[in-house]
């Protein structure tokens, strides 16, 4: 647009600064994008995607929390364009009502002219109400059906003077608010909360409108110089270099962390020479895109250009003597927050509750890196397994972060599920998510969920810890797959080996010439829960015994003939002889053996003492 005097507004610099004062930490996704506090997005040019979107605020939703929108309503040069106030999507039944109430002091209300109207549009129903009348709560809409209804609120531009003072416009409804866009609410209104819905998922990977200073998806953006656009608003113009409609100056827009792409639309470039140039963090030019203009003063044209790279700065340079306004969209990045690692210290990220083995290291990928200290970790029970894993009470936030898996875990899982069970029923498992919060503790980004869980070996070792097996907790290296000499009758695919025992037992196998001894093994390794079940399952809090079967240091061998209900005295004598000899052989080699004395708890158990020979060593 060629320079022409359109007259300046009554807006002072101080007033503008007031309007520009947004929260120091703004939103990063479309659900809570910062909004230009000076100017409503023009209707029909951006739609809901350009508006801040808040979740269901129940029966009471704040639409305006300051007099900022009234400044736009006072922009008489764009009188034909109404000021977008809010859009609500509500679901109710026929008869549900929507009410508005204005909360402001009397002087403020009295300063509002009666022709400053708030218009309520719901489909074909359009209702306009003097804004000042809303000081008494008014029903502005009554639903005729139970369908989802989109309600759009706008202000006309009949305001000659912006009253000073606080003002709040609140929507109340008996219907359910499914979604609400309230672009004039920055940093959260009294009843506005972030919405985890539709537009939230990939907002930061999409282009987001950046038309004023603020922080967008974690990237702080600064404009110099800057003024809100005061022309071509209906076409979508958002900012310009200077107030009024004088000759435009170059605008430098700086990103504190490089962004992927910048798209700028120039409104009414007339002369050749309008351009955007992008620079990286080192100040190296990344490219230039021009807005050549139409060469015809007074005829509006819009031209759009995009530059893509790791852009740290762009400079919008107008053609000499030209007046140009702009709007801008920025693609911040593909993802700003993800959990890249949540792992214990053991192989595969496994862990136990034992000492340093309980320490889980957390790592998140955050863009920009300056947000790393703002990462807050959420750790809870993995909902996809059958174990109730107690989450940590304390987590060291930031990335990297850490937490210790609590040592107090319920042993109930060892008795709840049928023996032998599976890992899904026994492994400790925690779900880890990350969030980035703003200065107010408000969540502005949530990550994917990562599960940190025990592998099979640590699940086995966990039994030793939680069941307080008195010997020790075996090292991971002591476990391995079963083989002929280590048959697996326990609950897992791995068994525990002990070289000392194996060496001694190989001597017994060699010495025993009666029959191949390996084929007679009836009991070898038992994990603690298996051993627990092998003996009596008592109360869940009792000890589980100290069997060396739990360390691969004990073996049971069948005696022969195998005794049963039809065995006669000769069979019993033969079995006893077998027992005597095998036992003597084992003792000679240094094994310890179970006594033949009958268990006093089971004095009448058949074949007690001679049904099998239990040999063991006290291994370390």
């Amino acid at each position: 647009m060629a320079h022409r005097s359109l007259g300046s507004h009554a807006r002072s610099t101080a007033q503008l600064l007031t309007l520009l004062a947004a929260g120091s930490w703004m939103a990063c996704t479309a659900r809570d994008l910062p909004t230009a506090t000076h100017q409503s997005p023009p209707s029909g040019t951006g739609g809901a995607s350009q508006l801040a979107l808040y979740e269901d605020c129940a029966s009471s939703c704040v639409l305006i929390a300051s007099n900022a929108p009234l400044w736009s309503a006072a922009a008489t040069d764009s009188a034909a364009v109404s000021v977008d106030v809010a859009t609500a999507r509500i679901v109710g039944v026929a008869g549900d009502s929507v009410m508005l109430s204005l909360d402001a002091d009397t002087a403020f209300v009295n300063a509002l002219p009666s022709n400053e109207l708030l218009t309520v549009t719901a489909g074909t129903i359009v209702t306009s109400v003097p804004l000042r009348d809303l000081v008494e709560r008014r029903v502005v809409l009554r639903l005729a059906s139970g369908d989802t209804t989109t309600v759009h609120y706008t202000l006309n531009r009949e305001l000659a003077r912006v009253p000073a003072g606080a003002v709040t416009l609140t929507q109340q409804t008996s219907a359910r608010v499914e979604a609400l866009t309230a672009p004039w609410i920055s940093g959260g209104g009294a009843s506005a909360h972030p919405l985890a819905a539709e537009n939230a998922a990939d907002s930061c990977s999409d282009a987001v409108p950046v038309n004023a200073a603020g922080t967008y998806c974690g990237v702080a953006v600064a404009f110099s110089p800057y003024a809100p656009a005061d022309a071509f608003l209906g076409a979508g113009a958002q900012f310009q270099s200077n107030a009024g409609h004088g000759v435009s100056q170059p605008i430098t827009i700086t990103f504190d962390s490089p962004v992927h792409a910048v798209t700028v639309t120039a409104y009414d470039p007339t002369f050749n020479g309008n351009q955007m140039e992008a620079f990286d963090t080192a100040g190296t030019s990344l490219g230039v895109v021009g807005f050549p203009g139409n060469g015809i003063p007074g005829v509006l044209t819009t031209q759009t250009g995009t530059l893509t790279s790791a852009i740290a700065r762009v400079v919008l340079t107008p053609a000499p003597l030209d007046y140009v306004a702009y709007s801008m969209n920025v693609t911040i990045g593909t993802s700003i927050l993800s959990v890249s690692s949540a792992a214990g210290p053991n192989p595969g990220g496994s862990f136990t509750i034992l000492g340093a083995e309980s320490r889980i290291a957390l790592q998140a990928d955050v863009t920009p890196a300056a947000l790393e200290p703002r990462v807050k970790w959420l750790v809870d029970d993995d909902p996809d397994d059958l174990v109730q894993t107690a989450p940590p009470a304390n987590v060291t936030d930031g990335t990297p972060g850490t937490f210790d898996v609590p040592s107090a875990q319920s042993r109930a899982r060892y008795t709840v599920y049928s023996h032998p069970g599976n890992l899904n029923q026994k492994s400790l498992s925690l779900r880890v998510r990350a969030q980035v919060t703003d200065d107010n503790g408000r969540t502005v980004e949530s990550s994917n969920a990562v599960v940190v869980h025990q592998d099979e070996i640590d699940t086995m070792r966990e039994e030793y810890i939680e069941l307080h097996v008195p010997q020790r907790v075996p090292a991971r290296s002591e476990f391995g797959p079963p083989d002929a000499a280590h048959p697996n009758a326990a609950d897992y695919t791995e068994v525990l080996f002990n070289t000392s025992f194996d060496t001694k037992f190989s001597q017994l196998v060699t010495a025993w010439t009666m029959r191949p001894l390996l084929g007679t093994i009836t009991g070898g390794y038992r994990n603690p829960v298996h051993n627990w079940r092998h003996i009596t399952v008592r109360s869940g809090s009792g000890p589980v015994g100290a069997s060396w079967h739990m360390y691969g240091c004990a073996i049971d061998m069948q005696t022969f003939p195998v005794l049963n209900a039809s065995s006669n005295h000769a069979d019993t004598l033969a079995a006893r002889a077998y027992w005597d000899r095998l036992s003597a052989q084992a003792i000679t080699l240094g094994f310890r053996v179970e006594p033949r004395d009958r268990d006093p708890n089971m004095p009448n158990r058949p074949y007690s003492g001679v049904g099998h020979v239990h040999v063991e060593i006290r291994c370390r």
Partner: protein, 346 residues
């Protein structure tokens, strides 16, 4: 016979891989960390629990302590507990175990081992009644008390039939190290007529290095009156002892058979006393005397006289077996052995 290699290259390789792969966690793999740390007082109190699992866990936890760190009160409790378990005085558990429950037996192993390490003579009864069934170490510990252990072993022999094989072995261990008087007392028990445990005797012969039992074991190995498994045990024991037996001279052998005869004849009465002690024709020609004389004569080089005296003992022994004054086992022990002596007299 299949060759079983428990330390196969494959397993060693696996261990190596695991070790290398897990090196990163070497700092936190608590390979020998006790699963729980309880106070000695609480462990001592747990020894009185009616729950065998509680007692067993306490015993294992105490076993991990240096013996010198175990307080006297705890030692007393352990010794008393073993004796209660050995004599059936320990109250039974309030919860009936599963049929497959081995907790009590395994707990006894640990308890006996721990009590043994205390080195306390007050533990002798419990160890003799129960502990010797569980390990050679305990058998050797009891045997170390020599004659002092015999009353406790006699009690075990009398009250615990299942313990008799272990008692036999322990006797043999005493015989190997005790003074001559105690040795005779032990041999008396070993070859007592009221029971025989061929497998236990074979094991005892090896454990006590009773090499003079080789001819007896050879006979046992060929006897169809015992189970094949006992034959095998006897033959194996004989083979183990044969080198030492072969190396003995005739007078060395005679000295040992004299001790065996003294043992068989110890405190003899009735017909056995007649076999052992009676002389005829006013001569000092009792069986014991003849066998001792034969030793002297071998030593003096009077071979023929020695052979004649030994043969007389053999004949009398055969006669005593025929008249059921001696058991067949006693008869075989003496006759087969003495025939070997005759063959060695040059």
């Amino acid at each position: 016979m299949p060759v079983i290699n428990f330390t196969s290259p494959a397993r060693r390789a696996l261990t190596g891989i695991l070790s290398a792969g897990f090196a990163v966690i070497a700092c936190c793999a608590l390979a020998a960390a006790p699963a729980s740390a309880q106070s000695v007082d609480s462990l001592t109190a747990a020894l009185a629990s009616t729950d065998v699992l509680a007692r067993g866990s306490a015993v294992e936890a105490l076993s991990q302590m240096p013996v010198t760190a175990i307080p006297f009160a705890t030692r007393d409790a352990l010794i008393a507990l073993l004796e209660r378990e050995a004599t059936g005085a320990q109250p039974v558990d309030s919860v009936r175990p599963n049929e497959a429950d081995e907790a009590w037996g395994e707990y006894i192993i640990g308890l006996a081992d721990l009590v043994r390490t205390l080195g306390d003579s007050r533990a002798l009864r419990g160890l003799a009644l129960l502990g010797i069934q569980t390990s050679r170490a305990t058998q050797e510990f009891v045997a170390g008390f020599g004659a002092q252990a015999l009353p406790q072993l006699d009690e075990a022999w009398t009250t615990k039939p299942d313990a008799r094989p272990s008692v036999v072995t322990t006797w043999a261990l005493i015989a190997n190290t005790a003074d001559s008087t105690t040795r005779i007392a032990v041999l008396h028990r070993l070859f007592a007529p009221d029971d025989t445990f061929p497998i236990a005797l074979a094991d005892a012969a090896v454990a006590g290095k009773l090499v003079v039992m080789v001819p007896f074991l050879d006979s046992l190995g060929q006897s169809d009156t015992v189970l094949p498994i006992a034959q095998g045990a006897a033959s194996e024991a004989a083979e183990k002892l044969r080198p030492a037996f072969t190396a003995l001279s005739a007078d060395q052998l005679l000295a040992q058979y004299n001790a065996i005869l003294d043992g068989i004849c110890l405190n003899s009465t009735g017909a056995l006393n007649g076999y052992c002690e009676s002389s005829t024709n006013g001569l000092d020609n009792s069986t014991k005397h003849l066998l001792k004389d034969s030793g002297s004569h071998v030593h003096q080089g009077a071979a023929d006289q020695a052979r004649q005296e030994i043969q007389t003992v053999i004949d009398r022994t055969l006669n005593a077996v025929a008249n059921e004054v001696l058991t067949p086992a006693q008869g075989i022990l003496l006759v087969s052995g003495l025939r070997q002596v005759i063959a060695r007299i040059s």
